[in-house]
Symmetry: C2
Subunit: 306 residues, 2 copies
């Protein structure tokens, strides 16, 4: 029996927060991946959103907290801004010390990573990426992001991966300029949800009978997958996010990746594409569950702050 | 004082082998990065080359050996083919058990990685990549390869990185079809040494007064750098290989990377490009020196075979 917490009988009570572009989700649970309580609020400026987060957890008796946040964020342990949002276009959030504010407000240790690295961690521990030494998670939604874990540890170098922003070889029929304010037609700029809407004039869910939409989407996403494969040779690739709810994309992406790689990476993994490029197994909760893993590590003094 | 070996007074005597497309280099040295003896032979079929390697080391009294080999190779510790060359187009080398043959032939433990991962390890320990948590090494020569170390440990997933084979956005003036037998116009196919020769009809060293050659080369190499940055956020990028002897490429690549990243990765590292994208500091010996690191680890039972 664990000495931390008592609320659920065994083990510590863990909190998780996922901050997204439109909503923030808070959850309470444990390291076995059970979620016992949750709350969703719209994303507002920090002075509005953060007090609501603190209020939600105020009577939950959590022992630690893990946060998966929209990037860019400071993930360098030696940095005095560890756990802060970096300069960004989201009103009020630039340089906001999110991790410190929440840990201090609740009086618990905690840790924070990008939403995608945290989702990757959730898939590694509980989901479709179990046991993958190098695991790649790709989210395709409002933006396109990648998370990488190596032996269950999120990858950070000078910062975190920002794999949606790689260069894109255009589809020959594509004249859309791209939505990315930094790079125009990077993979994110040409294949994220808003790019679909910008190019075709409707949301993906209203374009289900337009095969050219999905053909173009698969062109860009397969390119991203191929580039990541050549760069980090992941043992498995999990894809999630709103756009990937169009499950028809999976076979289309697998086929194009097979064609593009063209036998060059001839591994057991790539000979079984149906189990190599897979949907998230956690139904949208991957970042929250990864947050529990971050919280649990912070509680044990492995990473994070107190 | 170390208990291994005695030949150089202190510490074990280490052997290193670098197998390249045209030549094989063997070296003797120590973990301080001193090379005390070396031999270079042309690359032939294994039945010719490997006996010469074994003969060279036969009187060198080495305690362990590290090999940096042309890929693709089997780097999965659990594999029964660990340390073998994988299927390749090089006559005689497909499935050749290089590490096992050399370790058994010399009666010493050893380890093996790709030439580029091994070079990356050399730069991390002795060269231009000291202290870089995530270090990226890019070689541009007969092929284009990448190596990645994370905290000094070479990255492997289902196999090793093969970063030269990412998709390439073509230079608008480029009509060259590309040299890669797998992907045609991937970055390697459009920017390796043979691609320069195929496109312009001469070797790089005879094209020094043709600025359009280097402008196009920088276009492709900066794209590779940008994609790797977005994927693994390296703390430093070391570039080596024959083509990078054209040192004019460094400022051209830095400038284009700065333009392409466009402020998106705003880190201390990227604000000092001259110290972020740097030439190898080991004068061509980076893979041999990385071989010493592999040998030393194998001697201590960390990785490799006995």
């Amino acid at each position: 029996m664990d000495s931390f917490g008592a609320g659920m009988g065994e083990g510590p009570i863990l909190g998780a927060v996922e901050t997204g572009g439109t909503k923030i989700i808070c959850a309470v649970g444990d390291i076995d991946g059970r979620i016992t309580d949750r709350m969703t609020i719209p994303t507002d400026v920090p002075d509005v959103s953060v007090p609501k987060i603190l209020e939600f957890f105020s009577d939950k008796d959590i022992d630690a907290i893990g946060i998966g946040a929209f990037g860019p964020i400071d993930v360098i342990p030696e940095s005095e801004n560890y756990g802060s949002i970096r300069k960004c276009e989201r009103r009020g959030w630039s340089h906001y010390p999110l991790l410190r504010t929440i840990c201090d407000g609740l009086g618990v240790p905690g840790d924070m990573d990008t939403d995608v690295n945290t989702a990757c961690l959730g898939e590694y521990r509980y989901g479709a990426g179990k046991g993958a030494e190098v695991l790649l998670y790709i989210t395709v939604g409002t933006g396109i992001g990648i998370g990488i874990t190596i032996d269950g540890r999120p990858l950070h170098g000078m910062m975190h991966p920002e794999g949606g922003h790689v260069a894109a070889v255009r589809h020959p029929d594509d004249r859309f300029e791209g939505t990315c304010p930094f790079h125009g037609g990077c993979i994110e700029g040409l294949a994220c949800g808003p790019a679909i809407k910008g190019r075709w004039g409707a949301e993906g869910k209203d374009l289900e009978d337009r095969p050219e939409v999905w053909e173009m989407e698969a062109h860009y996403l397969s390119q991203l997958v191929r580039n990541c494969m050549m760069t980090v040779a992941p043992n498995r690739i999990v894809m999630g996010g709103g756009v990937m709810q169009q499950t028809r994309l999976f076979p289309m992406i697998r086929q194009r990746v097979r064609e593009q790689v063209n036998g060059y990476m001839d591994c057991p993994e790539t000979s079984d594409m149906e189990n190599y490029i897979v949907p998230s197994a956690l139904g949208g909760d991957q970042a929250l569950l990864g947050g529990f893993v971050l919280a649990h590590s912070a509680l044990r003094g492995k990473g994070g702050i107190r």
